[in-house]
Symmetry: C2
Subunit: 263 residues, 2 copies
């Protein structure tokens, strides 16, 4: 099994223990993408639960995860008809690298919302813009196909809009229809929204919580990212993921450090 | 020490162990308020950290907490110049009741935002409405002073607006100026926003993550709550807390179960 399924595959080695091989193709240089790591956490939590959907994932990014072997520890905290809760820790070199409280549940694919907010449509896919971050032969850009609303990409040309927002279409380059695990990747797939307020450099996520809200339809996902406050070296980034049927399928908020240079 | 300080006071009993007496005055009948429990978690995490502010608190509500004695376990996961991260568990009757990943940091009270969103003003306090939930002689309403924007309170008169939103001024009834611990109470102080979409009954929070964004000024806080999707028995509720100086001081999102009757 290759592609996203293979890159996130976990192998159960004992009760509550899993092995994973972290894939450099889901990273930038040697730092792995946070959404990819959350997708791996979800695989382990779902394997250990009777429920099929990662309803809530509250994640602390403790250290930088590196490509290569890692271990996952799943510690059940509650088991219920509506939801299971587990503590899931990604361990590398005997140290906790990422830790999450992960709630799994069972969403009804045919549910009709009692209430749903709406969002503005993006321009058609064909009118959106793409770019390659760094070396296109390797890394995140070789795996995901992201088409940006040009109105939110002024930072690319050195003309940041001043508004921390970004919008894009999202899918994998391989054939892989959206599911709960791919939503983990989607909620952290945009470049940092603070690039539009003049920040540059690495913007490491400290904490990210995301919620799966509905079973996504096949096709493109759309990502609507914004921040509410950039201050004191911290910024928030909220991403809503909508599916091709026009339904809100995931929501996230992360708190991150703005504009630190990595080296 | 009485009031909110006393009700959230924790006593260190050993390395990483604290005792607390949970106060029925921060509950509804016998179920304690989630924000109160998060305030107690914050006290323990802050005591164990060199940093003074609860920057990120990602909380799973596993079981119903009851008034009376409880224990807090604080397990450090990372210690850093920018932030500490700890796992904090409230234990009652030998069972984990609430568990959080809690990030503490040091916010600069004089920071000038690089960017800040804005919100609509509420009507003046004197034009807002109040109500007593249940027995006014005891419980949450005896501790907090909440003045609601009448435009968001149609559900009180059986005329829910259909829009899951609620806005209010918030302070304690006692003299206690806002701080990071009070913000934990504030982010979960509104009635469930789904009361405005026709839901009734208990709406138990499954997961709530909140972020402290700035050091709050003295005076009233304002709470701006909304939900984006009510579907399949689940709803989200996001609350922004703004201070009397017009600054965004906290953000939260919770995922909860809609319209379950409690007994």
């Amino acid at each position: 099994m290759g592609g996203f399924g293979g890159a996130t595959a976990v192998r159960r080695t004992a009760e509550g223990r899993y092995a994973v091989e972290l894939d450099a193709d889901y990273g930038f240089d040697e730092a792995l993408n946070g959404g990819y790591l959350m997708a791996v956490l979800a695989r382990a939590a779902l394997d250990a639960s009777a429920h099929p959907h990662p309803v809530a994932t509250a994640t602390s990014f403790l250290r930088v995860a590196r490509p290569g072997p890692a271990e996952l520890w799943v510690e059940p905290r509650k088991s219920g008809r509506t939801a299971d809760v587990a503590r899931v820790t990604l361990v590398q070199g005997d140290r906790p690298v990422v830790e999450a409280l992960l709630t799994t549940g069972t969403l009804d694919g045919d549910a009709e919302p009692v209430y749903s907010a709406s969002v503005d449509q993006l321009p058609p896919v064909g009118e959106c813009v793409t770019f390659d971050a760094g070396n296109p032969a390797r890394g995140f850009a070789t795996q995901v196909d992201v088409r940006y609303d040009g109105a939110t990409m002024g930072w690319l040309d050195g003309r940041p809009s001043g508004i921390p927002e970004m919008r894009a279409y999202f899918r994998l380059r391989q054939a892989y229809e959206p599911d709960g695990v791919l939503l983990a990747l989607a909620v952290d797939a945009l470049p940092p929204v603070v690039l539009n307020t003049g920040a540059s450099g690495w913007a490491p996520t400290v904490e990210l919580t995301w919620h799966m809200r509905a079973v996504p339809a096949p096709g493109w996902l759309t990502l609507h990212g914004r921040g509410r406050l950039v201050s004191d070296g911290w910024f928030d980034e909220e991403v809503e993921v909508w599916d091709s049927a026009g339904r809100l399928v995931a929501q996230s908020r992360q708190i991150a450090r703005a504009g630190r240079n990595r080296h």
